[in-house]
């Protein structure tokens, strides 16, 4: 319970910093590994995915890559990698403003008494591959624009066509214009229509199911590629697990691998967003926990799950 309270505090503070930080002079730069949307006026940091499609990534022409722009791109790539290595998917579960937005929708649904949309684990697993397709699209799109295969209005192809955060998060900065169709030409019509359809679909799905967008998030896929290097990990002690399945049921992402694992200690799977709800709900002492550079930061216990104060019980 306490872990959930800490998370809520961190999530809301992060939201304020990343959405409104710029208005108070806070600017964390363009390599933030979460959906800190640059379309928000006065945002305090920018999602790396936008930069990656644009001026610090695949938006740079091959000729410019060997100059300063290439050097800058490599610098921000290094910043992104360092941030991911330090905090892993804490960026997703604890910091991402769009993640918090999804959690608000889930909270609202639960308050209204609606049950969650059930998706079979196999179907969910297959849907998870979409995030790699989107990652491929956001890499390939700018290259095709540069090669003049695609119209220039296809710039930032992921943000413009598929990212539901782009129309939604600017609303918190008082801006609604991304919900409008851009009728400048056929391409802008296609791009904005796609954006609105995807956003509408995701809004409904994110209300019906917790963290639904995260299953498709290309940033989650990128962070997962760096997982072998990350210092913060979800760990399991299989011998202490009771196999009760609570970790799976309370999991926002419906990850079943953590519960089913009977041998390995490293249970950091691709769809785990390190929210820690499994640790907070697990009553088996030491069965689940977060470790940082091999040191346990927090681990499950009956005290934690029941919301009781910890007492030393060992001899």
């Amino acid at each position: 319970m306490l872990l959930k309270v800490y998370r809520l505090i961190v999530q809301h503070l992060s939201f304020i910093i990343l959405i409104y930080g710029g208005r108070f002079g806070v600017q964390l730069g363009p390599a933030v590994p979460c959906f800190a949307c640059p379309y928000v006026n006065g945002c305090g940091g920018q999602c790396y995915l936008m930069g990656l499609q644009g001026y610090i990534g695949f938006g740079i022409s091959l000729a410019d890559f060997w100059g300063f722009e290439g050097l800058r791109a490599l610098f921000y790539l290094a910043v992104f990698i360092i941030l991911v290595v330090l905090l892993g998917k804490i960026w997703c579960g604890w910091i991402c403003p769009f993640g918090l937005f999804q959690d608000w929708l889930t909270y609202l649904r639960r308050k209204l008494g609606f049950s969650s949309l059930k998706i079979e684990p196999e179907t969910l697993h297959k849907l998870g591959y979409v995030k790699y397709i989107l990652l491929g699209w956001l890499i390939l799109g700018p290259i095709l624009v540069d090669l003049k295969v695609l119209h220039p209005d296809f710039y930032l192809p992921f943000c413009q066509m598929f990212c539901p955060a782009k129309p939604i998060l600017p609303v918190f900065g008082g801006e609604f214009r991304h919900f409008a169709l851009d009728t400048t030409n056929l391409v802008t019509r296609i791009v904005t229509t796609s954006s609105l359809l995807v956003t509408g679909g995701f809004l409904a799905a994110m209300f019906a199911r917790p963290r639904f967008f995260c299953t498709f998030c290309p940033l989650l896929a990128m962070i997962h590629f760096l997982e072998p290097l990350t210092l913060l990990k979800l760990k399991k002690e299989p011998l202490l697990c009771h196999g009760c399945g609570t970790c799976q049921r309370v999991c926002n992402m419906d990850v079943e691998e953590v519960c089913l694992e009977k041998e390995k200690k490293d249970v950091q799977v691709v769809d785990c967003i390190n929210c820690g709800d499994c640790i907070a709900s697990c009553s088996a002492k030491g069965a689940l926990g977060f470790s940082f550079a091999g040191k346990t930061l927090v681990s499950s216990s009956r005290e934690l799950s029941l919301g009781l104060k910890t007492k030393k019980t060992s001899a």
Partner: protein, 420 residues
Amino acid sequence: MKKDDRSIRLLERARQKYKSETETEIELLIAREDYFPHLDYFLDLLKDGGDLGTIAQRVRKPTIALLCLQAPIELFWAQGFFPVKIYSGSYGASNLTSPRLPALMCPTLKAILGRAEMDESLAEVPWVIPLTCDWVVKFKETRELFGEFRRPVHFLEVPRVKDSPIARDRWFYEQYSLSGFLKKIGGEKLKAKNLLAALKVMEEARKALFQLTRLRRRGFIASVFYALITSSFFLDNPTNWTANVLKVVEFLDKKEPKGLQEGIFLSGSPIFFPNFKALHLIEEAGLKVYGDDLCSSERIFPRHVGLTDTSEDGLMRALAEAYHRGCLCPVFAENSHRASIIKEALSEAPIRGVIFHLLKGCHPYELDSFCLEESLKEWGLKYLKIETDYSIEDTGNLLTRLEAFRPTLAESEPLDELAG
């Protein structure tokens, strides 16, 4: 079913025996030096002998007889019933039905059948029977050899594989079938609000029992008293029970901690009132019990029902999971998680050995004991299996074995990462 004179005489004798067993056990408990007045509440509940009419008056709700803890208690509460777990450790009750049953049948089931024959109130209430072990599966037919059920009986089919999504779904729908049964026999319609309230009541009971368990790990409460407290859970309104457990916790918390002696963990078949023979003998042999995984004691209800979704569907899923996937009863296939409770307790108390209490004829536990023994030896713990029933003939033999086991604890070498 009309009874002849001999049957009536046997029945009366069994009732007398049951009464004397209850009184003897209560006297034994009260006579102990470490008895404290906060336990009076629990003893008073057990003195009544678990008459369902008396319990119904006490809790002001209609009662339902429940044969095994596998059924979700909160569902009964939410629909306006009070389930009473029917158990018995009485030799008199077991002896009443024993001549007409297989010799190697579980003594608990024999005693429950005996109790059902002696106690008319059990025929006047509906029964819910979760189909766990084979003896329980055949309970209805066996009971009908001796008497009748005058109210409906509902079976809950328990899928034996826990990690299969199909099995989990089946159990989920079994709960709805139980809910339908409760509605049919006059219960309230299932409402998420009532179920959530019932889950919260259980959560408070769970918290209280856990606090008591922590004190047990520190050697502050004898196992017989812990068993006394858990044995009375189904005999009163859970809120009263919880309040009284918290009084015990508050009282024990003030005690000065003493140096802890090396002790044991008790595993295996359940130990039911009034037969605390095994607990008394273990203590008499100089062994301290710091924990157990008995479904009559530390496992009387699921450890924790993590709630996120408070819709009816969400609550029912949470409940289904706690009572099925979270259950460590040996009737389940691939039950390798059972040893995790022991491993957890090892880090909390100076446990150097495990005593496996096996009731003769309790086949799932007997098979499990072999698997467990392997793990425990790997962990460097001493292990002793004692096989018994509700008679007192084996007392001397058991005591000798337990006394011989005690010195071996000093030789145990638990793995460093496990020991407390």
